[in-house]
C-alpha cells in the first residue's frame, strides 16, 4: 500500500495556493489537492475538518514573531493541527480547500510562513459535519471569531443545495479590525442590514456584532442573535440554528435554542492528538439516552458537530 497517497483519508499532499492576512488577527490558507486527495476532499461537508502536518514548516524570522509567542516558538511541535474548512471547491481534477486560522502558538506560527507552491501533508476529511433536516425554511448562523470558517462553507452549500432556505448570519468579534472576513466592511450595519460581503455573495443576510461597538451591534454575536430573535415572528419548527465559536457562546446559543424549541447544531472544539479516533483525548460530555448519567463522545468522530441538546456544558 502506498502510504502517501492511496488510503481513504490520507495522508495526502496538498499544495499551498495562497496564505494571507485577513484583518488584524486572522489568516486564510488555500490548499490544492490532486489525485486521491482531490477525490477525498471533494466530498467534504461543512463542519468536517482536516489534520495538517505543520512541524516541517519554517518559523517566521525572529523579529516577525509577536512578543507573546517568542517562548512557545522555541517548542518543537509533534502533533498535527485540526482545522475545519472555510470553503471547498471540487473541480474536475483537483479540489481547492480554504482554511481560516489565527496565530496562537507554535503550530499556527509555522503555518503562517507557508507560501504558494509549498507542500504539506493533510489527513481528512474527518468527523461529522452540519446537516440539514427536512422542512427547514430559515437557517440562523451564529458565528464567533474563528467559527466563521465552517459557517461560511455551510452558507455556500445551503445556497447551492437548499436555495429555498433563507440564511441569516450573526458574526461577532471583539472589535471591527478583528472580523475574520475578506473584503472591506463598507456597509457595516448599525443594527440591521446587509453587511458582510462573504455572506452576501451567497445571498445570505448578515449582522455584525462587536464587543466594543466599533461595528454593528455593540455586544456579542449571541446577544445580537438573542435581540433579533425577540423581534422575529419566526416559527420554531421552520428554523434551524448553526453555531461555531467559543464554548461559552455555544452554551448561550444552546440555551436560547432550547427555550425557543429551535433545532440547533453546534461545532465543538477540543484538544486532540490524532483527529481519527485513536487517542480518545477529545471527549465531549453528552447526555446519555434515557438515563441521568452522561457519556463521553469523541469530538473527532462523533462530532465536531453535535446537536446542542445532547451536549453537557462544563462552564
Amino acid at each position: 500500500m502506498n502510504n502517501s497517497d492511496g488510503t481513504k483519508k490520507g495522508p495526502f499532499r496538498a499544495e499551498v495556493s495562497f496564505n494571507r492576512h485577513i484583518g488584524q488577527k486572522y489568516h486564510r490558507l488555500g490548499l490544492d489537492f490532486t489525485g486521491a486527495g482531490a477525490e477525498a476532499f471533494g466530498t467534504s461537508e461543512p463542519g468536517q475538518f482536516g489534520e495538517l502536518e505543520l512541524s516541517k514548516a519554517a518559523l517566521p524570522e525572529p523579529g516577525a514573531i509577536a512578543k507573546e509567542l517568542t517562548d512557545c516558538a522555541e517548542r518543537q511541535i509533534l502533533l498535527r493541527r485540526p482545522f475545519s474548512f472555510a470553503d471547498v471547491q471540487a473541480e474536475k481534477n483537483s479540489t481547492y480547500v480554504e482554511i481560516l486560522y489565527r496565530v496562537v502558538g507554535p503550530g499556527s506560527l509555522r503555518m503562517s510562513t507557508l507560501s504558494g507552491g509549498d507542500s504539506i501533508s493533510v489527513i481528512g476529511p474527518l468527523g461529522r459535519g452540519f446537516c440539514v433536516p427536512e422542512g427547514k425554511k430559515t437557517a440562523l448562523l451564529v458565528v464567533g471569531g474563528m467559527g466563521a470558517g465552517p459557517l461560511l462553507y455551510l452558507t455556500k452549500v445551503l445556497s447551492e443545495n437548499y436555495p429555498k432556505i433563507e440564511v441569516t448570519a450573526f458574526a461577532g468579534a471583539k472589535t471591527k479590525n478583528e472580523l475574520p472576513f475578506e473584503r472591506r466592511l463598507d456597509e457595516v450595519s448599525q443594527g440591521l442590514g446587509f453587511s458582510i460581503a462573504e455572506f452576501a455573495k451567497y445571498g445570505a443576510k448578515s449582522l455584525i456584532a462587536t464587543d466594543d461597538g466599533t461595528a454593528g451591534f455593540e455586544g456579542t454575536a449571541a446577544d445580537c442573535f438573542s435581540e433579533w430573535l425577540k423581534e422575529s415572528s419566526l416559527k420554531s419548527e421552520d428554523a434551524i440554528i448553526y453555531s461555531c465559536g467559543p464554548e461559552a457562546m455555544l452554551k448561550q446559543i444552546s440555551e436560547i435554542a432550547e427555550k425557543r424549541n429551535i433545532d440547533c447544531q453546534i461545532s465543538m472544539e477540543r484538544m486532540m492528538a490524532c483527529g481519527i479516533g485513536l487517542c480518545q483525548s477529545c471527549a465531549v460530555e453528552c447526555k446519555a439516552d434515557g438515563e441521568n448519567e452522561s457519556i463521553y463522545k469523541l469530538c473527532c468522530k462523533d462530532g465536531p458537530v453535535f446537536e446542542s441538546k445532547e451536549v453537557v456544558f462544563d462552564l
Binding site: 500500500m1 502510504n3 488510503t7 481513504k8 483519508k9 490520507g10 495522508p11 502536518e53 517548542r75 518543537q76 511541535i77 509533534l78 502533533l79 498535527r80 489527513i123 477540543r270 484538544m271 486532540m272 492528538a273 490524532c274 481519527i276 479516533g277 485513536l278 487517542c279 480518545q280 483525548s281 477529545c282 471527549a283 465531549v284 460530555e285 452522561s294 457519556i295 463521553y296 462544563d314
Partner: protein, 327 residues
Amino acid sequence: MEENVDISVDFAGVGLANPVFTASGTCGYGDELADFTDVNQLGGFITKSITLKVRKGNATPRIVETNSGMLNAIGLANIGLDKFIEEKLPILEQFTTAVFVNVAGERIDEYVAVTERLVGEKAIAGLELNISCPNVSKGGISFGTEPQQVTEITSAVKKAAGEKILMVKLSPAVTDISVTARAAVDGGADALSLINTFPAMAIDIESRKAILANRTGGLSGPAIKPIAVYLLNKVYNEVARKSGTPILGLGGIRNASDAIEFIIAGASGVGVGTANFIEPGCTAKIVEGIKKYCARKEISNIKELIGSLLKGNNYSRQNVSHQKSPA
C-alpha cells in the same frame, strides 16, 4: 536483497511476521486504523486497555503537547469487557496479526476476572498486563512500583491466563526498573513491555493551573526515546537475557531507525504509539525500513540484531573492526 531477509520473530512462543506492534491505547480496537493502514501488516496489535466495567475516562483536556512529546491522561476510558467481547472481538478475529489485549483494573481480582473471560478466545494470542498507567487514582501504576505486588499480580493473572502468553508492561517511574522486571519474571511473565509513559505535568503560567483536567499525565513521544532505550538495554542485560524473556520496546518510536535502536538494545518487538497519531500508516513504513536496514547490513535474520549492542562507544577502537573501510 530485502526479500531474503527474515524479520519474523518468535515472541515467547507466538510467531510474529515481523517485530512491529502498535502500542496499547494508541490504535483503539483495530477498526479505527482501517482507513489508513492494513493492520495485518503488523507483527502484533495491542488493544486499548480493557477493564471489567465500562469506564468513562477523565474530563478534558486529556492531552497537551509538550516539547517533542505529549502528555495524556485519558483515564483508561474503555467500553468494558462485555461490549469488547460482543463488538470488538469479532473484528479482531479477522486479523491475521497476533492480537494482545491490554488488561487493566483497580484490584487483582478484576484483572483475573477479565483474564478468565478472555482466555478461551481464539482471536487472542496473549495479554498485556497494564500495571503502569499513571492516570487513574486506583490500580494502574500502584501495582507496578512495588516488586512484591508486581510478582503477586503477575502470578495471579498468569494462573488465569492458561495457554495465553502474559506480557507485563512496566513503568519507568521506579528507582530500578530491573527490580520490577525481575519481579514480573518471578511471577511468571512470559514477556515484558517497556516503557509506559512517564508521570509528568504541564502548567499554564497565565492561570497558574495544571493544563490537564487530571493535573498530571503520562509523557510520550520522541522526548522519552533515549530514556526508553537506556531502560530497555538495562532490563535486557540485567534480567531478560538470562531468563530468556522477550521484551517489547516502546517509547517515542517514529521510524525504522528508532525501532532498530530498540532492537539492538535488546528488544524482540517494537511498539509504536504516539507516532500513529501523526502518521497512522507509519508502522508499515517501519516494517519496510527494518527489512531494508537488515539487507544493507547483510543481516539475513533479525534474530542476529536483537541485543546486538557492541561494547564501547562509536569512537572507541573496539568498534573499528566492525566498521566498513572508508571508500
